[in-house]
Assembly symmetry: C2
Homo-oligomer: 237 residues x 2
């Protein structure tokens, strides 16, 4: 079955502060723009989730290195250093720069940490939206990570709810009837990247909505369980 | 400016054989479905480009290892091996499994190699479409690669034309006026991944069309020059 996807920015989210009702703000912003329907996928930036969950630490705004101790404490293992760049494995198992600690789109005296459990964050948003609107959406929490062999960064999923992170095609045939070699497609990372294209970095648009995904993709799943690769099966750590 | 993106599958491409007029087939398939307009982005699978360019090698269909010598000859450096898995750096500088040599969606006695220069492949398709239709589209040639720290595969750009591979936001402020920390977004990889979501692996749909991209993204650019990271600046090779 052929499906087109629509990727829509959701503007109008207010500045989010610790303890704010993020689900309520997202519902309101969506009702002003795209609306929400069963099967829609909401992609929410890590930054607003971290803000709502109070994952903020006060730092010296004058010191460009002030967030570095947080990078170390958020890491279980430093993998590489070059100049100011630290690539580490976070407590969640993500491999990224600065352990996801970020000073952009927050006040100068604040550093934002990654959510403690972004799958749980996604689940809570999904449950709150279902509870209040009776609408069954999938939620992806996205952050921007680098890649070792390729320049530039892309958005990937750090948490999800209501969608299978990986489409498992093992046992499926290709178009000419041979068994597929590429079998596990990380659809939540592709959806997170697609959402970034309409959110942008400098616009402050923290949410995008994707309409038209294959209903077969919806279901239970966790980024931590499905995507995070155990160091023991990793060839490059 | 807020933009929504539409990601549309382009069905109807015939089986492509060496020497076939791929641009003509794409034009025909698009005219039957989405049409083509200035600023559209066509994402074309590596497989049909390799077929049209005759990047096919005959192998013993009975031997599951028959493509292995090709993996070695397409590589400049083997980075890791585990069991049947070979991760290497290709002649193009891509780091991927099996040097991009692939036996799915080709006849059992055939292995497909990556295009010699996928930026050139993209440029030729773009030029042919402009020449015949007078329409200015961007073209991305996409393939499916794994990632070291994350399970599952995603589509990335191995060649492009008419679009800047990386959106360089250096010097741009975030939504609250601080300089952005994430500055280089690899939009062609995000577009390639978005296109994969509507193409799928088992449907044989080799082309997707993306409508609505920011005109500021259009322009000259090459994956080889902008994205392929030189081993000397790579921390994990």
């Amino acid at each position: 079955m052929l499906r087109a996807l629509q990727i829509m920015p959701v503007p109008g989210l207010p500045e989010i502060r610790p303890g704010d009702d993020l689900a309520g703000s997202i519902i309101e912003a969506c009702s002003d723009s795209t609306g929400l329907a069963d099967g829609d996928v909401l992609v929410v930036s890590q930054k607003v989730v971290s803000k709502a969950e109070g994952r903020l630490v006060e730092i010296d705004p004058e010191d460009p290195q002030a967030h570095k101790p947080l990078v170390v404490s958020e890491s279980v293992r430093i993998l590489r250093r070059r100049g100011d760049l630290i690539i580490s494995e976070t407590r969640h198992g993500f491999v990224c720069a600065s352990a996801g600690v970020d000073r952009s789109n927050v006040e100068p005296n604040i550093a934002a940490l990654l959510p403690e459990d972004a799958d749980r964050s996604a689940r809570r948003l999904r449950d709150a939206i279902r509870g209040r609107l009776g609408v069954d959406v999938a939620v992806i929490v996205a952050d921007t990570f680098g890649r070792p062999w390729r320049r530039g960064l892309t958005d990937v999923a750090i948490g999800c709810a209501g969608i299978k992170p990986i489409l498992d095609l093992r046992g499926t045939d290709d178009a000419i009837g041979r068994e597929l070699q590429v079998t596990e497609v990380c659809i939540v990372d592709e959806l997170a990247g697609a959402a970034e294209l309409v959110r942008g970095k400098s616009t402050g648009i923290a949410v995008a909505m994707i309409r038209g995904v294959d209903p077969a993709w919806l279901g239970e799943g966790s980024v931590a369980e499905a995507i995070v690769r155990d160091p023991s099966e990793d060839l490059f750590r």
